[in-house]
Symmetry: C2
Subunit: 262 residues, 2 copies
DNA sequence: ATGCCTTTGTGAACGCGTGCACAAAGATTG
DNA sequence: CAATCTTTGTGCACGCGTTCACAAAGGCAT
């Protein structure tokens, strides 16, 4: 059953920058951009770290992977660092992006201001609903799925955003990959199988909420002199014997990615 | 200033379940639910792992933290496991949730089907725009920010979703926390400061795209028989001397969370 | 019952990420 | 130019998370 790796096998240690550090660079960049707009010339690791919500030692170590860009006794030059990080992240070039699945979420994403600002440009909006074709969303006309391959190849798009229902995600993903996409941001609640070399990042509202619920439950059951844990009833059954009878519920687990595409 | 921790200080090792494992439980649950709907009685760690997109050894170790729910030589009882994981995640109870900031994204979230299915219920939609008050979104009337405290206390809400512009996020966050919220899902592109005991999880489109861009650039510069690394030109300047002259660009970095709240 | 086959549960090794703590570097002042 | 003070850059240790590899457990057939 077609599994397919997606997490980068090794550390992606190409030249050395750790994955964890890469994930924080955008955070630093955002904080630095804010400082830059306020015309602040330099920042210490301490100040910047606090602005980015991390520990200063971590920040210094992160920057050390990029090179020695600071000045001891002074700090870091804001403008210079903004440039260096932007370059490292590949933000000095333009990245055309396509969004597939123009429902509530897809539309919200299309309207996102943060796209254009940092090197990302919405090259096209794609949806399977013929009724949407031609209608402008965020000023961009929606195109039909049939055009997918052509759009990607014509615009040299390498990053795709999937905002379709879970059921269509894998299929869309396969087409995107076949058309040349090598990076995917997936909002559909499904595990995507992709060939080696293709990066997939997942954004899943439902999962985030469940993680919060876990901690919330944990807090509720310990902090106050709360009862030992009523445990809502231990109905089910021992390992390999009976079977709980909770009905399969509605089929609506999270079929749609925080939205319905029309 | 005003830093404030947000990552759980320790390992949240309350009774022992590692954070990394908690983050995967929703994945397993989703896969199990799908099997359950197809009336599959049991699964082996290998099958389930592949369905969830993880390695089987990891899955077994994860389950081992919950207890020994499998049967050697057979596998795991689907229904039983669904129940156990649901209980562990706190999904056997109902979690009222409030969404603050009803713009494109907030509306998309309100329409999300995955909410209701797994124990989450949208208790209220809140926005600062008086013009939205009373208007129904996803069948629920939007209420004004003034009512925030009352709504939360009346409904016993402990989980809040922030989908406001970055500028309003911290303020909204503070009010939510003061009103009793202890878990926050933040879609605004800002670092939130919260007191100890409050959990914050962040969803940031812009950051995800930047991480993808990093890897994309990496791929483009290595895979083909590319030269040793041209380094795009060392334009800027040495650490503490000159200053690049890139204009502060537009102020639009990512002020809005993939949407504008009215 | 006995033996074989399958699959779990986990001990142990390894590697990444984090944070401490400090030496080195540079600015700044007298 | 020397002394002092600030802040970076990093060696080191520790802990979490992942993966391997295998013994133990249970089912099943003979």
């Amino acid at each position: 059953m077609a599994t397919g790796r997606n997490h980068r096998p090794a550390t992606s240690r190409s030249r050395g920058i750790p994955e964890a550090t890469v994930a924080r660079l955008p955070l630093y960049l955002r904080a630095l951009t804010a400082l830059s707009e306020r015309s602040v010339p330099t920042v210490s690791s301490e100040e910047l770290a606090s602005a980015a919500g991390v520990n200063s030692a971590k920040l210094r170590k992160d920057f050390s992977y990029l090179g020695s860009y600071g000045t001891r006794g002074v700090g870091y030059d804001v403008e210079y660092l903004v440039y260096q990080i932007s370059r490292e992240l590949g933000l000095t070039q333009d990245w055309p992006v396509v969004i597939v699945g123009i429902g509530n979420l897809g539309a919200a994403l299309a309207n996102y201001g943060g796209f254009a600002s940092r090197g990302f440009r919405v090259a096209a909006l794609i949806d399977a609903d013929p009724g949407l074709s031609g209608k402008p969303v965020a000023g961009i006309p929606v195109q039909h799925t049939d055009e997918l391959e052509k759009i990607i190849s014509d615009n040299g798009v390498s990053i795709g955003v999937i905002a379709t229902p879970a059921g269509a995600a894998q299929q869309v993903c396969d087409r995107l990959v076949a058309a040349g996409i090598t990076s995917i941001l997936n909002f559909a609640p499904t595990v995507l199988s992709v060939p080696e070399g293709v990066d997939v990042r997942k954004v899943d509202l439902s999962i985030e909420l469940q993680i919060l619920a876990f901690h919330e439950q944990r807090k509720a059951g310990e902090e106050p002199g709360a009862p030992p844990e009523t445990d809502t009833a231990p109905p089910a059954a021992p390992p390999a014997v009976s079977v709980a009878k909770r009905p399969p519920e509605s089929g609506t687990d999270g079929d749609l990615p925080a939205v319905m595409p029309a």
